[in-house]
């Protein structure tokens, strides 16, 4: 092969480039989204490298995989968190967890992910690599494959570093049928662990709040926890991860969709002391604060203790707790008995005065 031909030579399936990407000092440039060789190189050296799997390696504009007949679940989340790196995680792993969890909340087993990147011109490639590496690790931990993707670059000032939209595909096991409208009076309400960690970890970084905590985001995938739960109690009525809007949004949404009321008990809701303290001085309610590694389960009362035991036996559900009851209520109110003894409503979060949290 002549010298000049090296430029275009291939090494197995890998394309060869005359320069490797400058992953230490390089920046995202408009050309990385142009559809040309620079884009191909970014995809090859950054994304293919990190995510490599048989489906992605095909390098088609789509991935093709075999699924058994049955019910398939699809979920998507766009991630725009700021800052991109935070205690306990980054947008990379978060973008895997966020979608894996939405798939898992149907009781399904998540299998494949797609990832769409919207990068801002000037974003450091080194940071992008950290993000991509974190995604890869999160996918591996969750047992899912990132099989297809897309990369766009927007001009400086038209984006915010890196946005990631992931979509997940999963398969629902036989006998599982959950839904936000399947909750009935008499169900118990269970959370898988302490609330508010993610939102407080993010807020602690906000320029004009700046406080120090040892709280880390709880961002994690919950599909293994769900699999354990479903195995023992297949007839869970509903699962939901209380992300934006926190527990209050989740309870209110499901109350409306299932046309029920909810009664929860403040003393039973696990909240870490530092989260409580931060909420106290910021004037927030921990029930409104986002989580990224917790779930709320609604299950028949007679299965609640059994389910709780399974959850507590799992490392991602050690602090699980039964926090309340689903009740009949035409008005579909969510009420909370306070630690103080009174009863009050738990309304939807109102307003957005927080940093972007997912």
């Amino acid at each position: 092969m002549t010298e000049q031909s090296r430029t275009d030579s291939t090494d197995g399936n890998k394309r060869h480039y005359s320069h490797t990407l400058d992953l230490s000092k390089g920046k995202v440039e408009m050309v990385h989204g142009s559809g040309g060789k620079a884009m191909a190189q970014l995809i090859d050296e950054l994304f293919l490298n990190a995510f490599s799997n048989p489906w992605l390696d095909e390098m088609n504009d789509q991935a093709c995989f075999q699924l058994p007949a049955g019910r398939v679940v699809m979920a998507t989340d766009s991630h725009v968190i700021s800052p991109l790196f935070f205690p306990g995680g980054d947008i990379g792993c978060l973008s895997v967890h966020g979608t894996v969890n939405d798939v898992a909340m149907s009781g399904a087993v998540p299998k494949y992910l797609s990832a769409g990147f919207i990068l801002e011109e000037g974003y450091p490639l080194a940071d992008l690599q950290t993000i991509v590496t974190s995604m890869a690790a999160a996918a591996e931990e969750a047992g899912v494959y990132i099989v297809t993707g897309d990369t766009k670059v927007v001009e400086r000032g038209k984006g915010d570093g890196c946005f990631i939209t992931t979509t997940g595909i999963g398969v629902v096991p036989e006998g599982v049928s959950m839904g936000a409208d399947r909750v009935t009076a008499g169900d118990k309400i269970i959370v898988s662990g302490s609330l508010g960690d993610h939102g407080v970890a993010i807020m602690s970084l906000r320029e004009n709040l700046t406080f120090e905590t040892t709280i880390e985001s709880d961002t994690q995938s919950l599909n293994d926890l769900v699999a354990a739960m479903v195995e023992v109690v297949p007839d869970i009525h509903c699962l939901r991860d209380p992300t934006r809007g926190g527990l209050s949004a989740t309870l209110n949404e499901i109350a409306q969709q299932s046309k029920v009321g909810m009664q929860v008990y403040e003393t039973e809701i696990p909240v870490k002391p530092q989260v409580k303290a931060a909420c106290e001085f910021l004037g927030l309610d921990p029930l409104f604060v986002a989580n990224e590694g917790k779930l709320v389960a609604f299950c028949p009362a007679d299965k609640a203790e059994q389910l709780l035991a399974v959850m507590r036996a799992h490392p991602k559900g050690m602090d699980a707790a039964i926090i309340g009851d689903v009740i009949e209520d035409d008005l579909q109110f969510v009420q909370m008995q306070t630690a103080f003894g009174g009863n009050r409503m738990v309304d939807w979060i109102n307003g957005e005065q927080l940093p972007r949290i997912c």
């Binding site: 406080f211 120090e212 905590t213 530092q274 303290a277 106290e280 001085f281």
Partner: protein, 82 residues
């Protein structure tokens, strides 16, 4: 708006700032309004500023007031029951 919270002074950082502990959360606050501040003092913090010190004896006394009432009310109940 008048949201304020008792915080414990952990460290005095300068003329006007101190590190405060709020239930395990740490935050730098402005203490320019407080005279004779010492580590271990509790102050009421509002919008990042210490407004006043908390008097631990008075705090005890208020709790005792609740407790006294408690004792008193129990006595009432006993009297009423007689």
């Amino acid at each position: 708006m008048c949201l304020a919270i008792p915080v414990r002074i952990e460290e005095i950082l300068g003329d006007e700032t101190a590190m405060a502990d709020i239930g395990g959360v740490r935050k730098e606050i402005n203490v320019a309004l407080i005279a004779d501040l010492a580590v271990g003092d509790f102050v009421i913090m509002h919008v990042g500023y210490a407004l006043n010190k908390i008097d631990p004896d008075e705090a005890e006394r208020t709790l005792a007031l609740f407790a006294e009432l408690d004792a008193l009310s129990q006595q009432d109940i006993i009297e009423a029951a007689q």
